[in-house]
């Protein structure tokens, strides 16, 4: 497999832009605008179109990393980007009000991609809250999508090791699924 297109999705402030900047080996393309919605996430800027970065995995594999805006009013970008991706890293911040239902809600928006490709969930900012949210997310996913195996990690999007591990897990997940599908249709 020569090229992978991976999408970073999840609510505003989860760390999608940060994660792509951490992983990318090229200068990222970003579309940050002054953030006027400080109640939702208290940060200077917010993504209004996309983030784009690239990372090589081994000599032949290139991964294209796309991030989408987190705010729902940009959901047309979710639809557009979902079509070209083969895997999803869903980031949700642990200091959000209801982490479990946020994960379920966003996963539902990317269900098409989740069924076609692979998904990994990353819970960010848990250094600010402690480890409870991961259990909450396991419970929410088990209730909403029983029988679907979705790896869940606690991640810090600022940490290259964490993000590489998350990405590798996703790629392995996608390749396993591709191999299984190919085997099943032979």
């Amino acid at each position: 497999m020569a090229e992978h297109v991976i999408l970073f999705a999840g609510p505003m402030g989860a760390g999608k832009t940060t994660a792509i900047r951490t992983l990318s080996e090229i200068e990222v393309v970003s579309t940050e605008a002054a953030n006027t919605d400080r109640e939702t996430a208290d940060k200077e800027t917010t993504t209004v179109a996309l983030d784009y970065g690239e990372i090589g995995l081994g000599p032949d594999d290139k991964v294209r990393l796309y991030g989408v805006p987190g705010q729902r009013r940009f959901d047309f970008m979710w639809t557009i980007m979902q079509e070209r991706a083969m895997g999803l890293i869903l980031l949700v911040h642990a200091d959000a009000p209801d982490v479990g239902s946020l994960v379920v809600e966003h996963l539902r928006e990317f269900e098409h991609l989740a069924r076609r490709g692979g998904v990994v969930v990353g819970i960010s900012r848990s250094d600010l809250t402690g480890p409870q949210p991961v259990n909450e997310v396991h419970a929410a996913l088990a209730g909403q999508l029983p029988g679907v195996l979705i790896p869940i990690f606690t991640v810090d999007p600022r940490d290259a090791g964490h993000m590489r591990m998350t990405l590798m897990t996703l790629i392995a997940n996608i390749e396993t699924r591709t191999a299984l599908t190919a085997g099943a249709t032979e």
Binding site: S30, T31, A34, N35, T36, R38, V48, P69, R73, F76
Partner: protein, 135 residues
């Protein structure tokens, strides 16, 4: 430092909203073929709309903010200097986007095909400049 822009986003500042409505009304007078026009914040919130309307549909504002940001990203990427305007031409009309000079706001205007692109460009520039100066 107290930054009033931070305390009061443009779309919630009655003064800015009022001036934006007037600017769009002027645009409508100067361009009879103007369909919809919107002033939006860089992050996609509607500040004012012409014709006036109360609606929760902010789709044009969101899409315009994405396109504006992508256009500016391309200009940056190719080191083309300062961005001017963006035009989308279609069989039934055209869409023009341009930054309100010096502001974190964008003007998006939809014209029907009767309007010449040249006129849309010059009229929208004047309205955007006057609006920026009036805030």
């Amino acid at each position: 430092m107290t930054d009033t822009a931070e305390l009061m986003p443009p779309h919630r500042d009655p003064h800015t909203v009022d001036i934006a409505h007037r600017a769009l009304a002027v645009l409508g007078e100067l361009s009879p073929s103007l369909g919809i026009a919107v002033v939006l914040t860089d992050d996609g919130f509607e500040v004012a709309r012409h014709p006036r309307r109360d609606s929760a549909d902010q789709r044009l504002a969101s899409m315009a903010s994405s396109l504006q940001a992508l256009s500016e990203a391309i200009v940056r990427e190719l080191r083309l200097g300062a961005p001017g305007y963006v035009i989308i031409e279609a069989t039934e009309g055209h869409v023009l986007l341009r930054r309100v000079p010096g502001r974190q706001m964008v003007l998006a205007a939809v014209f029907d095909s009767d309007e010449s692109v040249g006129k849309a460009i010059s009229v929208s520039r004047k309205v955007a400049e006057d609006f920026s100066a009036a805030i």
